[in-house]
């Protein structure tokens, strides 16, 4: 039985209690250095640490060699990083639109270069290379000093802090983001490939709503230097380096495939269905469904939708807009399109609430 019940019950645990546990985890940050100092006074720990140092030095050499090979094979190009088992390879039409970039920024302890970009009316994708100067161990900004080396694909044992401390190096955390308001971003994700402990590739994929033939924008880089063994648990925004790399991208225009109307606009509780439009971009199909909420509570039970014969692997969202209308957007769809579409609406347990047939408008 009880698996789902237990899972649902855990979901209902008070935020106050979760926040307390979360604070406790953060508190550990301030206690950890003291604990590690105590450990360092212990003889066997010292010996273990030096053995690890040797193995880490060997691992670093290996990583460096792998990085050179990876570059030669272009394993970390935008096209390669886009691909995943769910959505497969980047479509050839989109690959042809990848632009090389030259933007560069130099910060304290690191430099960052935009490598490639892809831009269409819905999506922006970027790859950036970040290189740390000697004396720094580099990680992306979503990590923290307590991240285990192995969890980010680096060889060796222990945390980033322990590793940096063992080598007498500082930690530097670097992240990148596109300007949300300027581009009307609806979502943005960052993926990192570690080439070594001093070099990484950032892959940014964002869904945007602002469209123009040429997009003039910036890529925002943030970096924070952390001294191992002297961690300041307080978050200090003033200590963060903020750089901007200018970016110019040519946007690929999409094309309209068709507009579809629901046969039964009132079939889904809480919603009067409007038009469903399909467009094509080089990355695949884009779906937009509009409607009018009729019962907010009933509408709140809907999570997502499925279109028979189509699979969407990009950003997807559905809900009430600031103007009170309903809108669903799904991107990077693949599949066959006919003159009618069967659309199922699913609740939060992914169970169908109803299915509606949409017919192409003449």
């Amino acid at each position: 039985m009880n698996r789902k019940l237990v899972s649902n019950a855990l979901t209902g645990i008070d935020e106050e209690l979760i926040a307390d546990a979360l604070d406790f985890r953060v508190d550990e940050g301030s206690r950890a250095p003291e604990r590690k100092k105590n450990m360092a006074n212990h003889g066997s720990e010292k010996r273990r640490a030096s053995r690890r140092l040797v193995s880490l030095a060997l691992a670093a050499c290996l990583l460096l060699a792998l990085a050179v090979t990876a570059y030669a094979l272009n394993l970390f190009g935008l096209r390669e990083l886009y691909a995943n088992p769910n959505r497969g390879e980047m479509p050839a039409e989109a690959q042809a639109l990848i632009e090389e970039q030259e933007g560069f920024a130099q910060g304290e302890g690191f430099s960052c270069r935009v490598l490639e970009s892809y831009c269409d009316e819905n999506n922006v994708i970027l790859t950036l290379s970040v290189t740390a100067e000697a004396g720094y161990v580099l990680a992306d900004s979503s990590e923290d000093p307590f991240t285990e080396l192995q969890s980010i694909g680096l060889a060796g044992e222990g945390t980033l802090e322990e590793y940096a401390m063992g080598q007498g190096r500082k930690l530097i955390f670097v992240g990148a983001a596109l300007p949300w308001e300027d581009l009307g971003l609806r979502s943005e994700g960052m993926h990192t490939e570690y080439l070594s402990d001093g070099e990484l590739i950032l892959y940014l994929e964002a869904s945007k709503s602002v469209s123009a033939p040429v997009i003039e924008t910036v890529c925002r880089i943030t970096a924070q230097i952390v001294e191992p063994g002297n961690l300041d648990p307080e978050y200090d925004p003033a200590a963060i380096q903020r750089l901007e790399i200018p970016l110019t991208m040519r946007e690929s225009e999409g094309s309209e495939i068709g507009v579809y109307l629901p046969e039964e606009p009132e079939a889904i509780p809480g919603l009067r269905l409007g038009e469903l439009s399909l467009r094509r971009t080089p990355l695949g199909l884009t779906l937009r469904l509009t409607g009018t909420p009729t019962d907010r509570a009933a509408l709140g039970t809907l999570l997502t939708l499925r279109v028979e014969g189509l699979e969407f692997h990009g950003s997807g969202r559905m809900g009430v807009q600031p103007d009170g209308s309903f809108q669903a957007d799904f991107e990077q769809g693949q599949g066959e399109i006919g003159d009618s579409l069967s659309v199922s609406f699913l609740d939060w347990d992914k169970q169908p609430v109803g299915t509606v047939t949409f017919v192409r408008k003449k």
Partner: protein
């Protein structure tokens, strides 16, 4: 930056809010999702979607515990994604945690499970409030955040086996509590 300041940025619709949320809680948000999914890419997407949901929900919401609020959204998204992938193997930390807890709680009827889950959550909340902080945090880290024993051991300095014994006792305590409250025969 304090949570209130970040929430204020969300209310102002400042894009810096996302950056600050990500900077302060991004690691925790992603870790919660990763413990459910055990797939860094999926976890990254969940974390990104969670940030978007936070952006879309503030305003009107003004959570008093921003980190917990964002982690909760990420966890729900991750569980939904996990459930939707029927081919996923049952080997995530989320599964391990559920396996442990599943035997502790009562076998309730299969009807009205949502109501039962809410009722059970109420009891679990009350049970947790009655625990010492260290036990409460241990319970939540294991069963809500999905932390592995070795992760908890590494950050608390306790041995995994000792933690395992302590968790076993906590589960027994929960079972006793649920019996006492009439949730179990």
């Amino acid at each position: 930056m304090q949570d209130e300041e970040i929430v204020a940025l969300f209310l102002e619709r400042s894009e810096q809010a996302i950056e600050e949320l990500n900077r302060k809680y991004g690691g925790q948000i992603r870790r919660v999702a990763d413990h459910v999914l055990r797939d860094p890419e999926d976890a990254e997407e969940c974390a990104s979607d969670a940030c978007l949901q936070v952006w879309n929900s503030i305003p009107p919401r003004q959570p008093s515990h921003l980190g917990a609020y964002a982690c909760k959204i990420a966890r729900n998204l991750a569980i939904n994604r996990y459930r939707s992938n029927s081919a996923q193997k049952r080997n995530t930390l989320y599964d391990v945690a559920l396996d442990e807890l599943e035997e502790t709680v009562p076998a309730l009827s299969t009807v009205e499970t949502e109501a039962e889950a809410r009722e059970l959550a109420d009891y679990v909340n009350r049970f947790l409030r009655g625990l010492e902080r260290e036990d409460r945090v241990l319970f939540l880290r294991r069963y809500w955040f999905g932390d592995s024993l070795s992760e908890i051991a590494a950050s608390t300095g306790r041995k995994p086996h000792a933690l395992s014994v302590r968790l076993f006792r906590l589960r027994q305590k929960l079972q006793d509590y649920l019996k006492k409250e009439g949730m179990m025969a």
